[in-house]
Amino acid sequence: MSDTTFARLDVLKTYKLYVGGKFPRSESGRVYEVTDSKGEWLANAPLGTRKDARDAVLAARAAVKGWAGTTAYNRGQVLYRVAEMLQGRREQFAAEVSLSEGVGPKKAAALVDAAIDRWVWYAGWTDKVAQIAGGANPVAGPYFNLSTPEPTGVVGIVAPQAGYGHSLLGLVSVIAPAIATGNTVVVAAAADAPLPALSLGEVLATSDVPGGVVNIISGRTADIAPTLASHQDVNALDLTGAIAADGPGAAAALEAAAADTLKRVVRPELDPFAQDWTNAPGTDRLLSFLETKTVWHPMGI
């Protein structure tokens, strides 16, 4: 045995994008520095580009048929499994949330618990949403007339970039409701706090969520969000994290780009910085990305 003791070197983690169930580096090969709330270096995150967004939309589109086609009950089980996996990595997420948002360890742990609980809450909604968004319509004829909610398709999400608990709890609060109803999503992670999002990709990959249902891209919002907004194969857009006052990443510009292809758009809060993500979410987001299919079925003569 040697007398000299060496300090053990940490194995630094290479954060990667999550696209189509795989973990690619950015198509550009670039990374950017992620710092904590005090400006200390945390990690290098991949700098996703327009092409990464394009690839992610392709993957999301390919996953729509399978995910929308699963039974609501099965989707609920899969989402519950995600919560189980999140629970197992509670400490890692608490550390990342604490560093990203500059909150103390106790508060960070509470935020992670809230995120897990919220995921379970949305998992329960998968087979119940049809009861509040659909129904049997009374019609003047010998028909059953039934309205059922159907997923709209690929949803582009600009993840929350501000507000208490945005980095994980906020992220879960925008992803879970969109996929609970059978949509697939492409998420532009918060530019300043992408680490919990990229780690969430690892959780999703190890649960039973099929590849391509959730795709997570880190990078500049002004690069990724306009691509999602103008992409003709994206059906809806969630602008929750579009907090820029002007420029291509601003909510108004994105909404204008989305209007060309008649996307469903969820606007950001009036004051995103004052938002508290621990507040009860309500069903608004669940109902935002649905189409209504109405069928007429003849009754017995």
Binding site: R54, V57, R61, T227, S230, H231, Q232, D233, V234, A257, D260
Partner: protein
């Protein structure tokens, strides 16, 4: 020295010298001609007596230098790494669209589907009238009349597969009747399949004679010929050496185009096989003065793939072949991807499959 470093050593050089050797040996007998009429007998004029007998044909084909597999695949892979952007990309996309043989070869083809395909060939992108038309519509013989009718007034060719496509397993009279029928119905181009069984068992002369006979069946009453494309089904030929041999065989027999595949087997057009065929037509022209076209078919689905093939044509053959008269893509789904990329270049936003037709 620069020349040496840019172009890796490849066996094609030997073919050139061999072919040029042939040309030189027969120089006294041959009038070098670039006449397009690649009719039987005229074909391979510099090598006219190569196919005089079974033995001489076999001697010639087996005398072709062997293919350097590693070199060929490396060269094809290298040519696939070019990055083509902005205006060059726009040019390449338009060129590729104009080179497409838009194809439907399904048992379930209906008159309506063929008409719809023809409409798409005439106006690939209804939202943008500057989009070029495709080169040809490729159908089964019984749909030729329908396609001809739907394409009236355009310069889009009607290509018909024939000779018991895709297997080619039928008696010669049946194949000739199949061909003559398609020509009579108005086909401008005939895509025939070779008898792979005969080729693989070494009966080269039978294959040669069959191509010559089909070429004769392509003759119209007014004495002109329908263009003959010869499909090798390279996925079934096992080796690169066989591809080189069959390329020369078909060109000697009078093929106007040589085509990789039917699109009906597991392995279709690949870059190395196409490169090999491009080198063969280059060497054939050097030897005989007759220019032959090339058509990779099957498995080319994306704009990126198509660009790789165009780069290969440009680097191997140059401008002479960069036109729909001498290079074609046999494809159906490729067109949609080209149109989506074209829309992206025009509008700056990514397009989706909802904005092009399903078929």
């Amino acid at each position: 020295m620069a020349e040496v470093s840019v172009r890796p050593r490849k066996p094609a050089g030997k073919v050139v010298s061999l072919a040029v050797g042939y040309a030189r040996r027969y120089a006294g007998l041959v009038t070098m001609s670039t006449v397009a009429a690649n009719a039987p007998g005229v074909a391979g004029s510099g090598l006219a007596d190569v196919a005089a007998s079974e033995a001489s044909l076999r001697r010639f084909l087996h005398g072709l230098p062997g293919v350097d597999q590693v070199g060929l695949e490396a060269r094809a892979a290298t040519l696939g790494t070019r990055s083509i952007k902005t205006t060059a990309k726009a040019y390449a996309i338009d060129l590729a669209i104009s080179m497409i043989d838009l194809t439907t070869l399904e048992g379930a083809d209906t008159v309506g589907k063929v008409r719809a395909l023809c409409a798409k060939g005439r106006t690939p992108d209804p939202t943008d009238p500057t989009t070029p038309r495709v080169a040809a519509i490729c159908v089964y013989p019984d749909m030729v009349a329908t396609a001809k009718d739907a394409l009236r007034g355009t310069d889009i060719q009607v290509a018909s597969v024939a000779t018991a496509f895709p297997a080619g397993r039928a008696a010669l009279p049946v194949k000739l009747a199949d061909t003559a029928d398609a020509v009579a119905a108005g086909a401008d181009e005939i895509d025939m399949v070779i008898d792979r069984g005969a080729f693989l068992s070494g009966r080269y002369f039978d294959v040669y004679n069959e191509i010559v006979a089909v070429k004769e069946a392509c003759k119209r009453p007014d004495g002109t010929y329908a263009h003959l494309k010869v499909i090798f089904e390279t996925g079934e030929l096992q080796t690169y050496d066989n591809v080189r041999r069959v390329s020369w065989l078909a060109m000697l027999a009078g093929a106007d185009f040589i085509k990789t595949s039917t699109g009906k087997v597991a392995v279709n057009a690949t870059p190395p096989v196409t490169l090999l065929m491009l080198e063969a037509v280059r060497d054939f022209r050097a030897a005989t003065g007759v220019q032959v076209g090339v058509k990779p078919a099957g498995g080319i689905k994306t704009t990126k793939d198509a660009m790789k093939y165009l780069v290969m044509v440009n680097e191997t053959l140059g401008d002479d072949w960069l036109s729909p008269h001498w290079f074609r893509f046999g494809a159906s789904s490729l067109l949609n991807d080209l149109l989506m990329q074209r829309q992206k270049l025009a509008t700056g936003r990514y397009s989706g499959p909802d904005y092009v037709t399903v078929d």
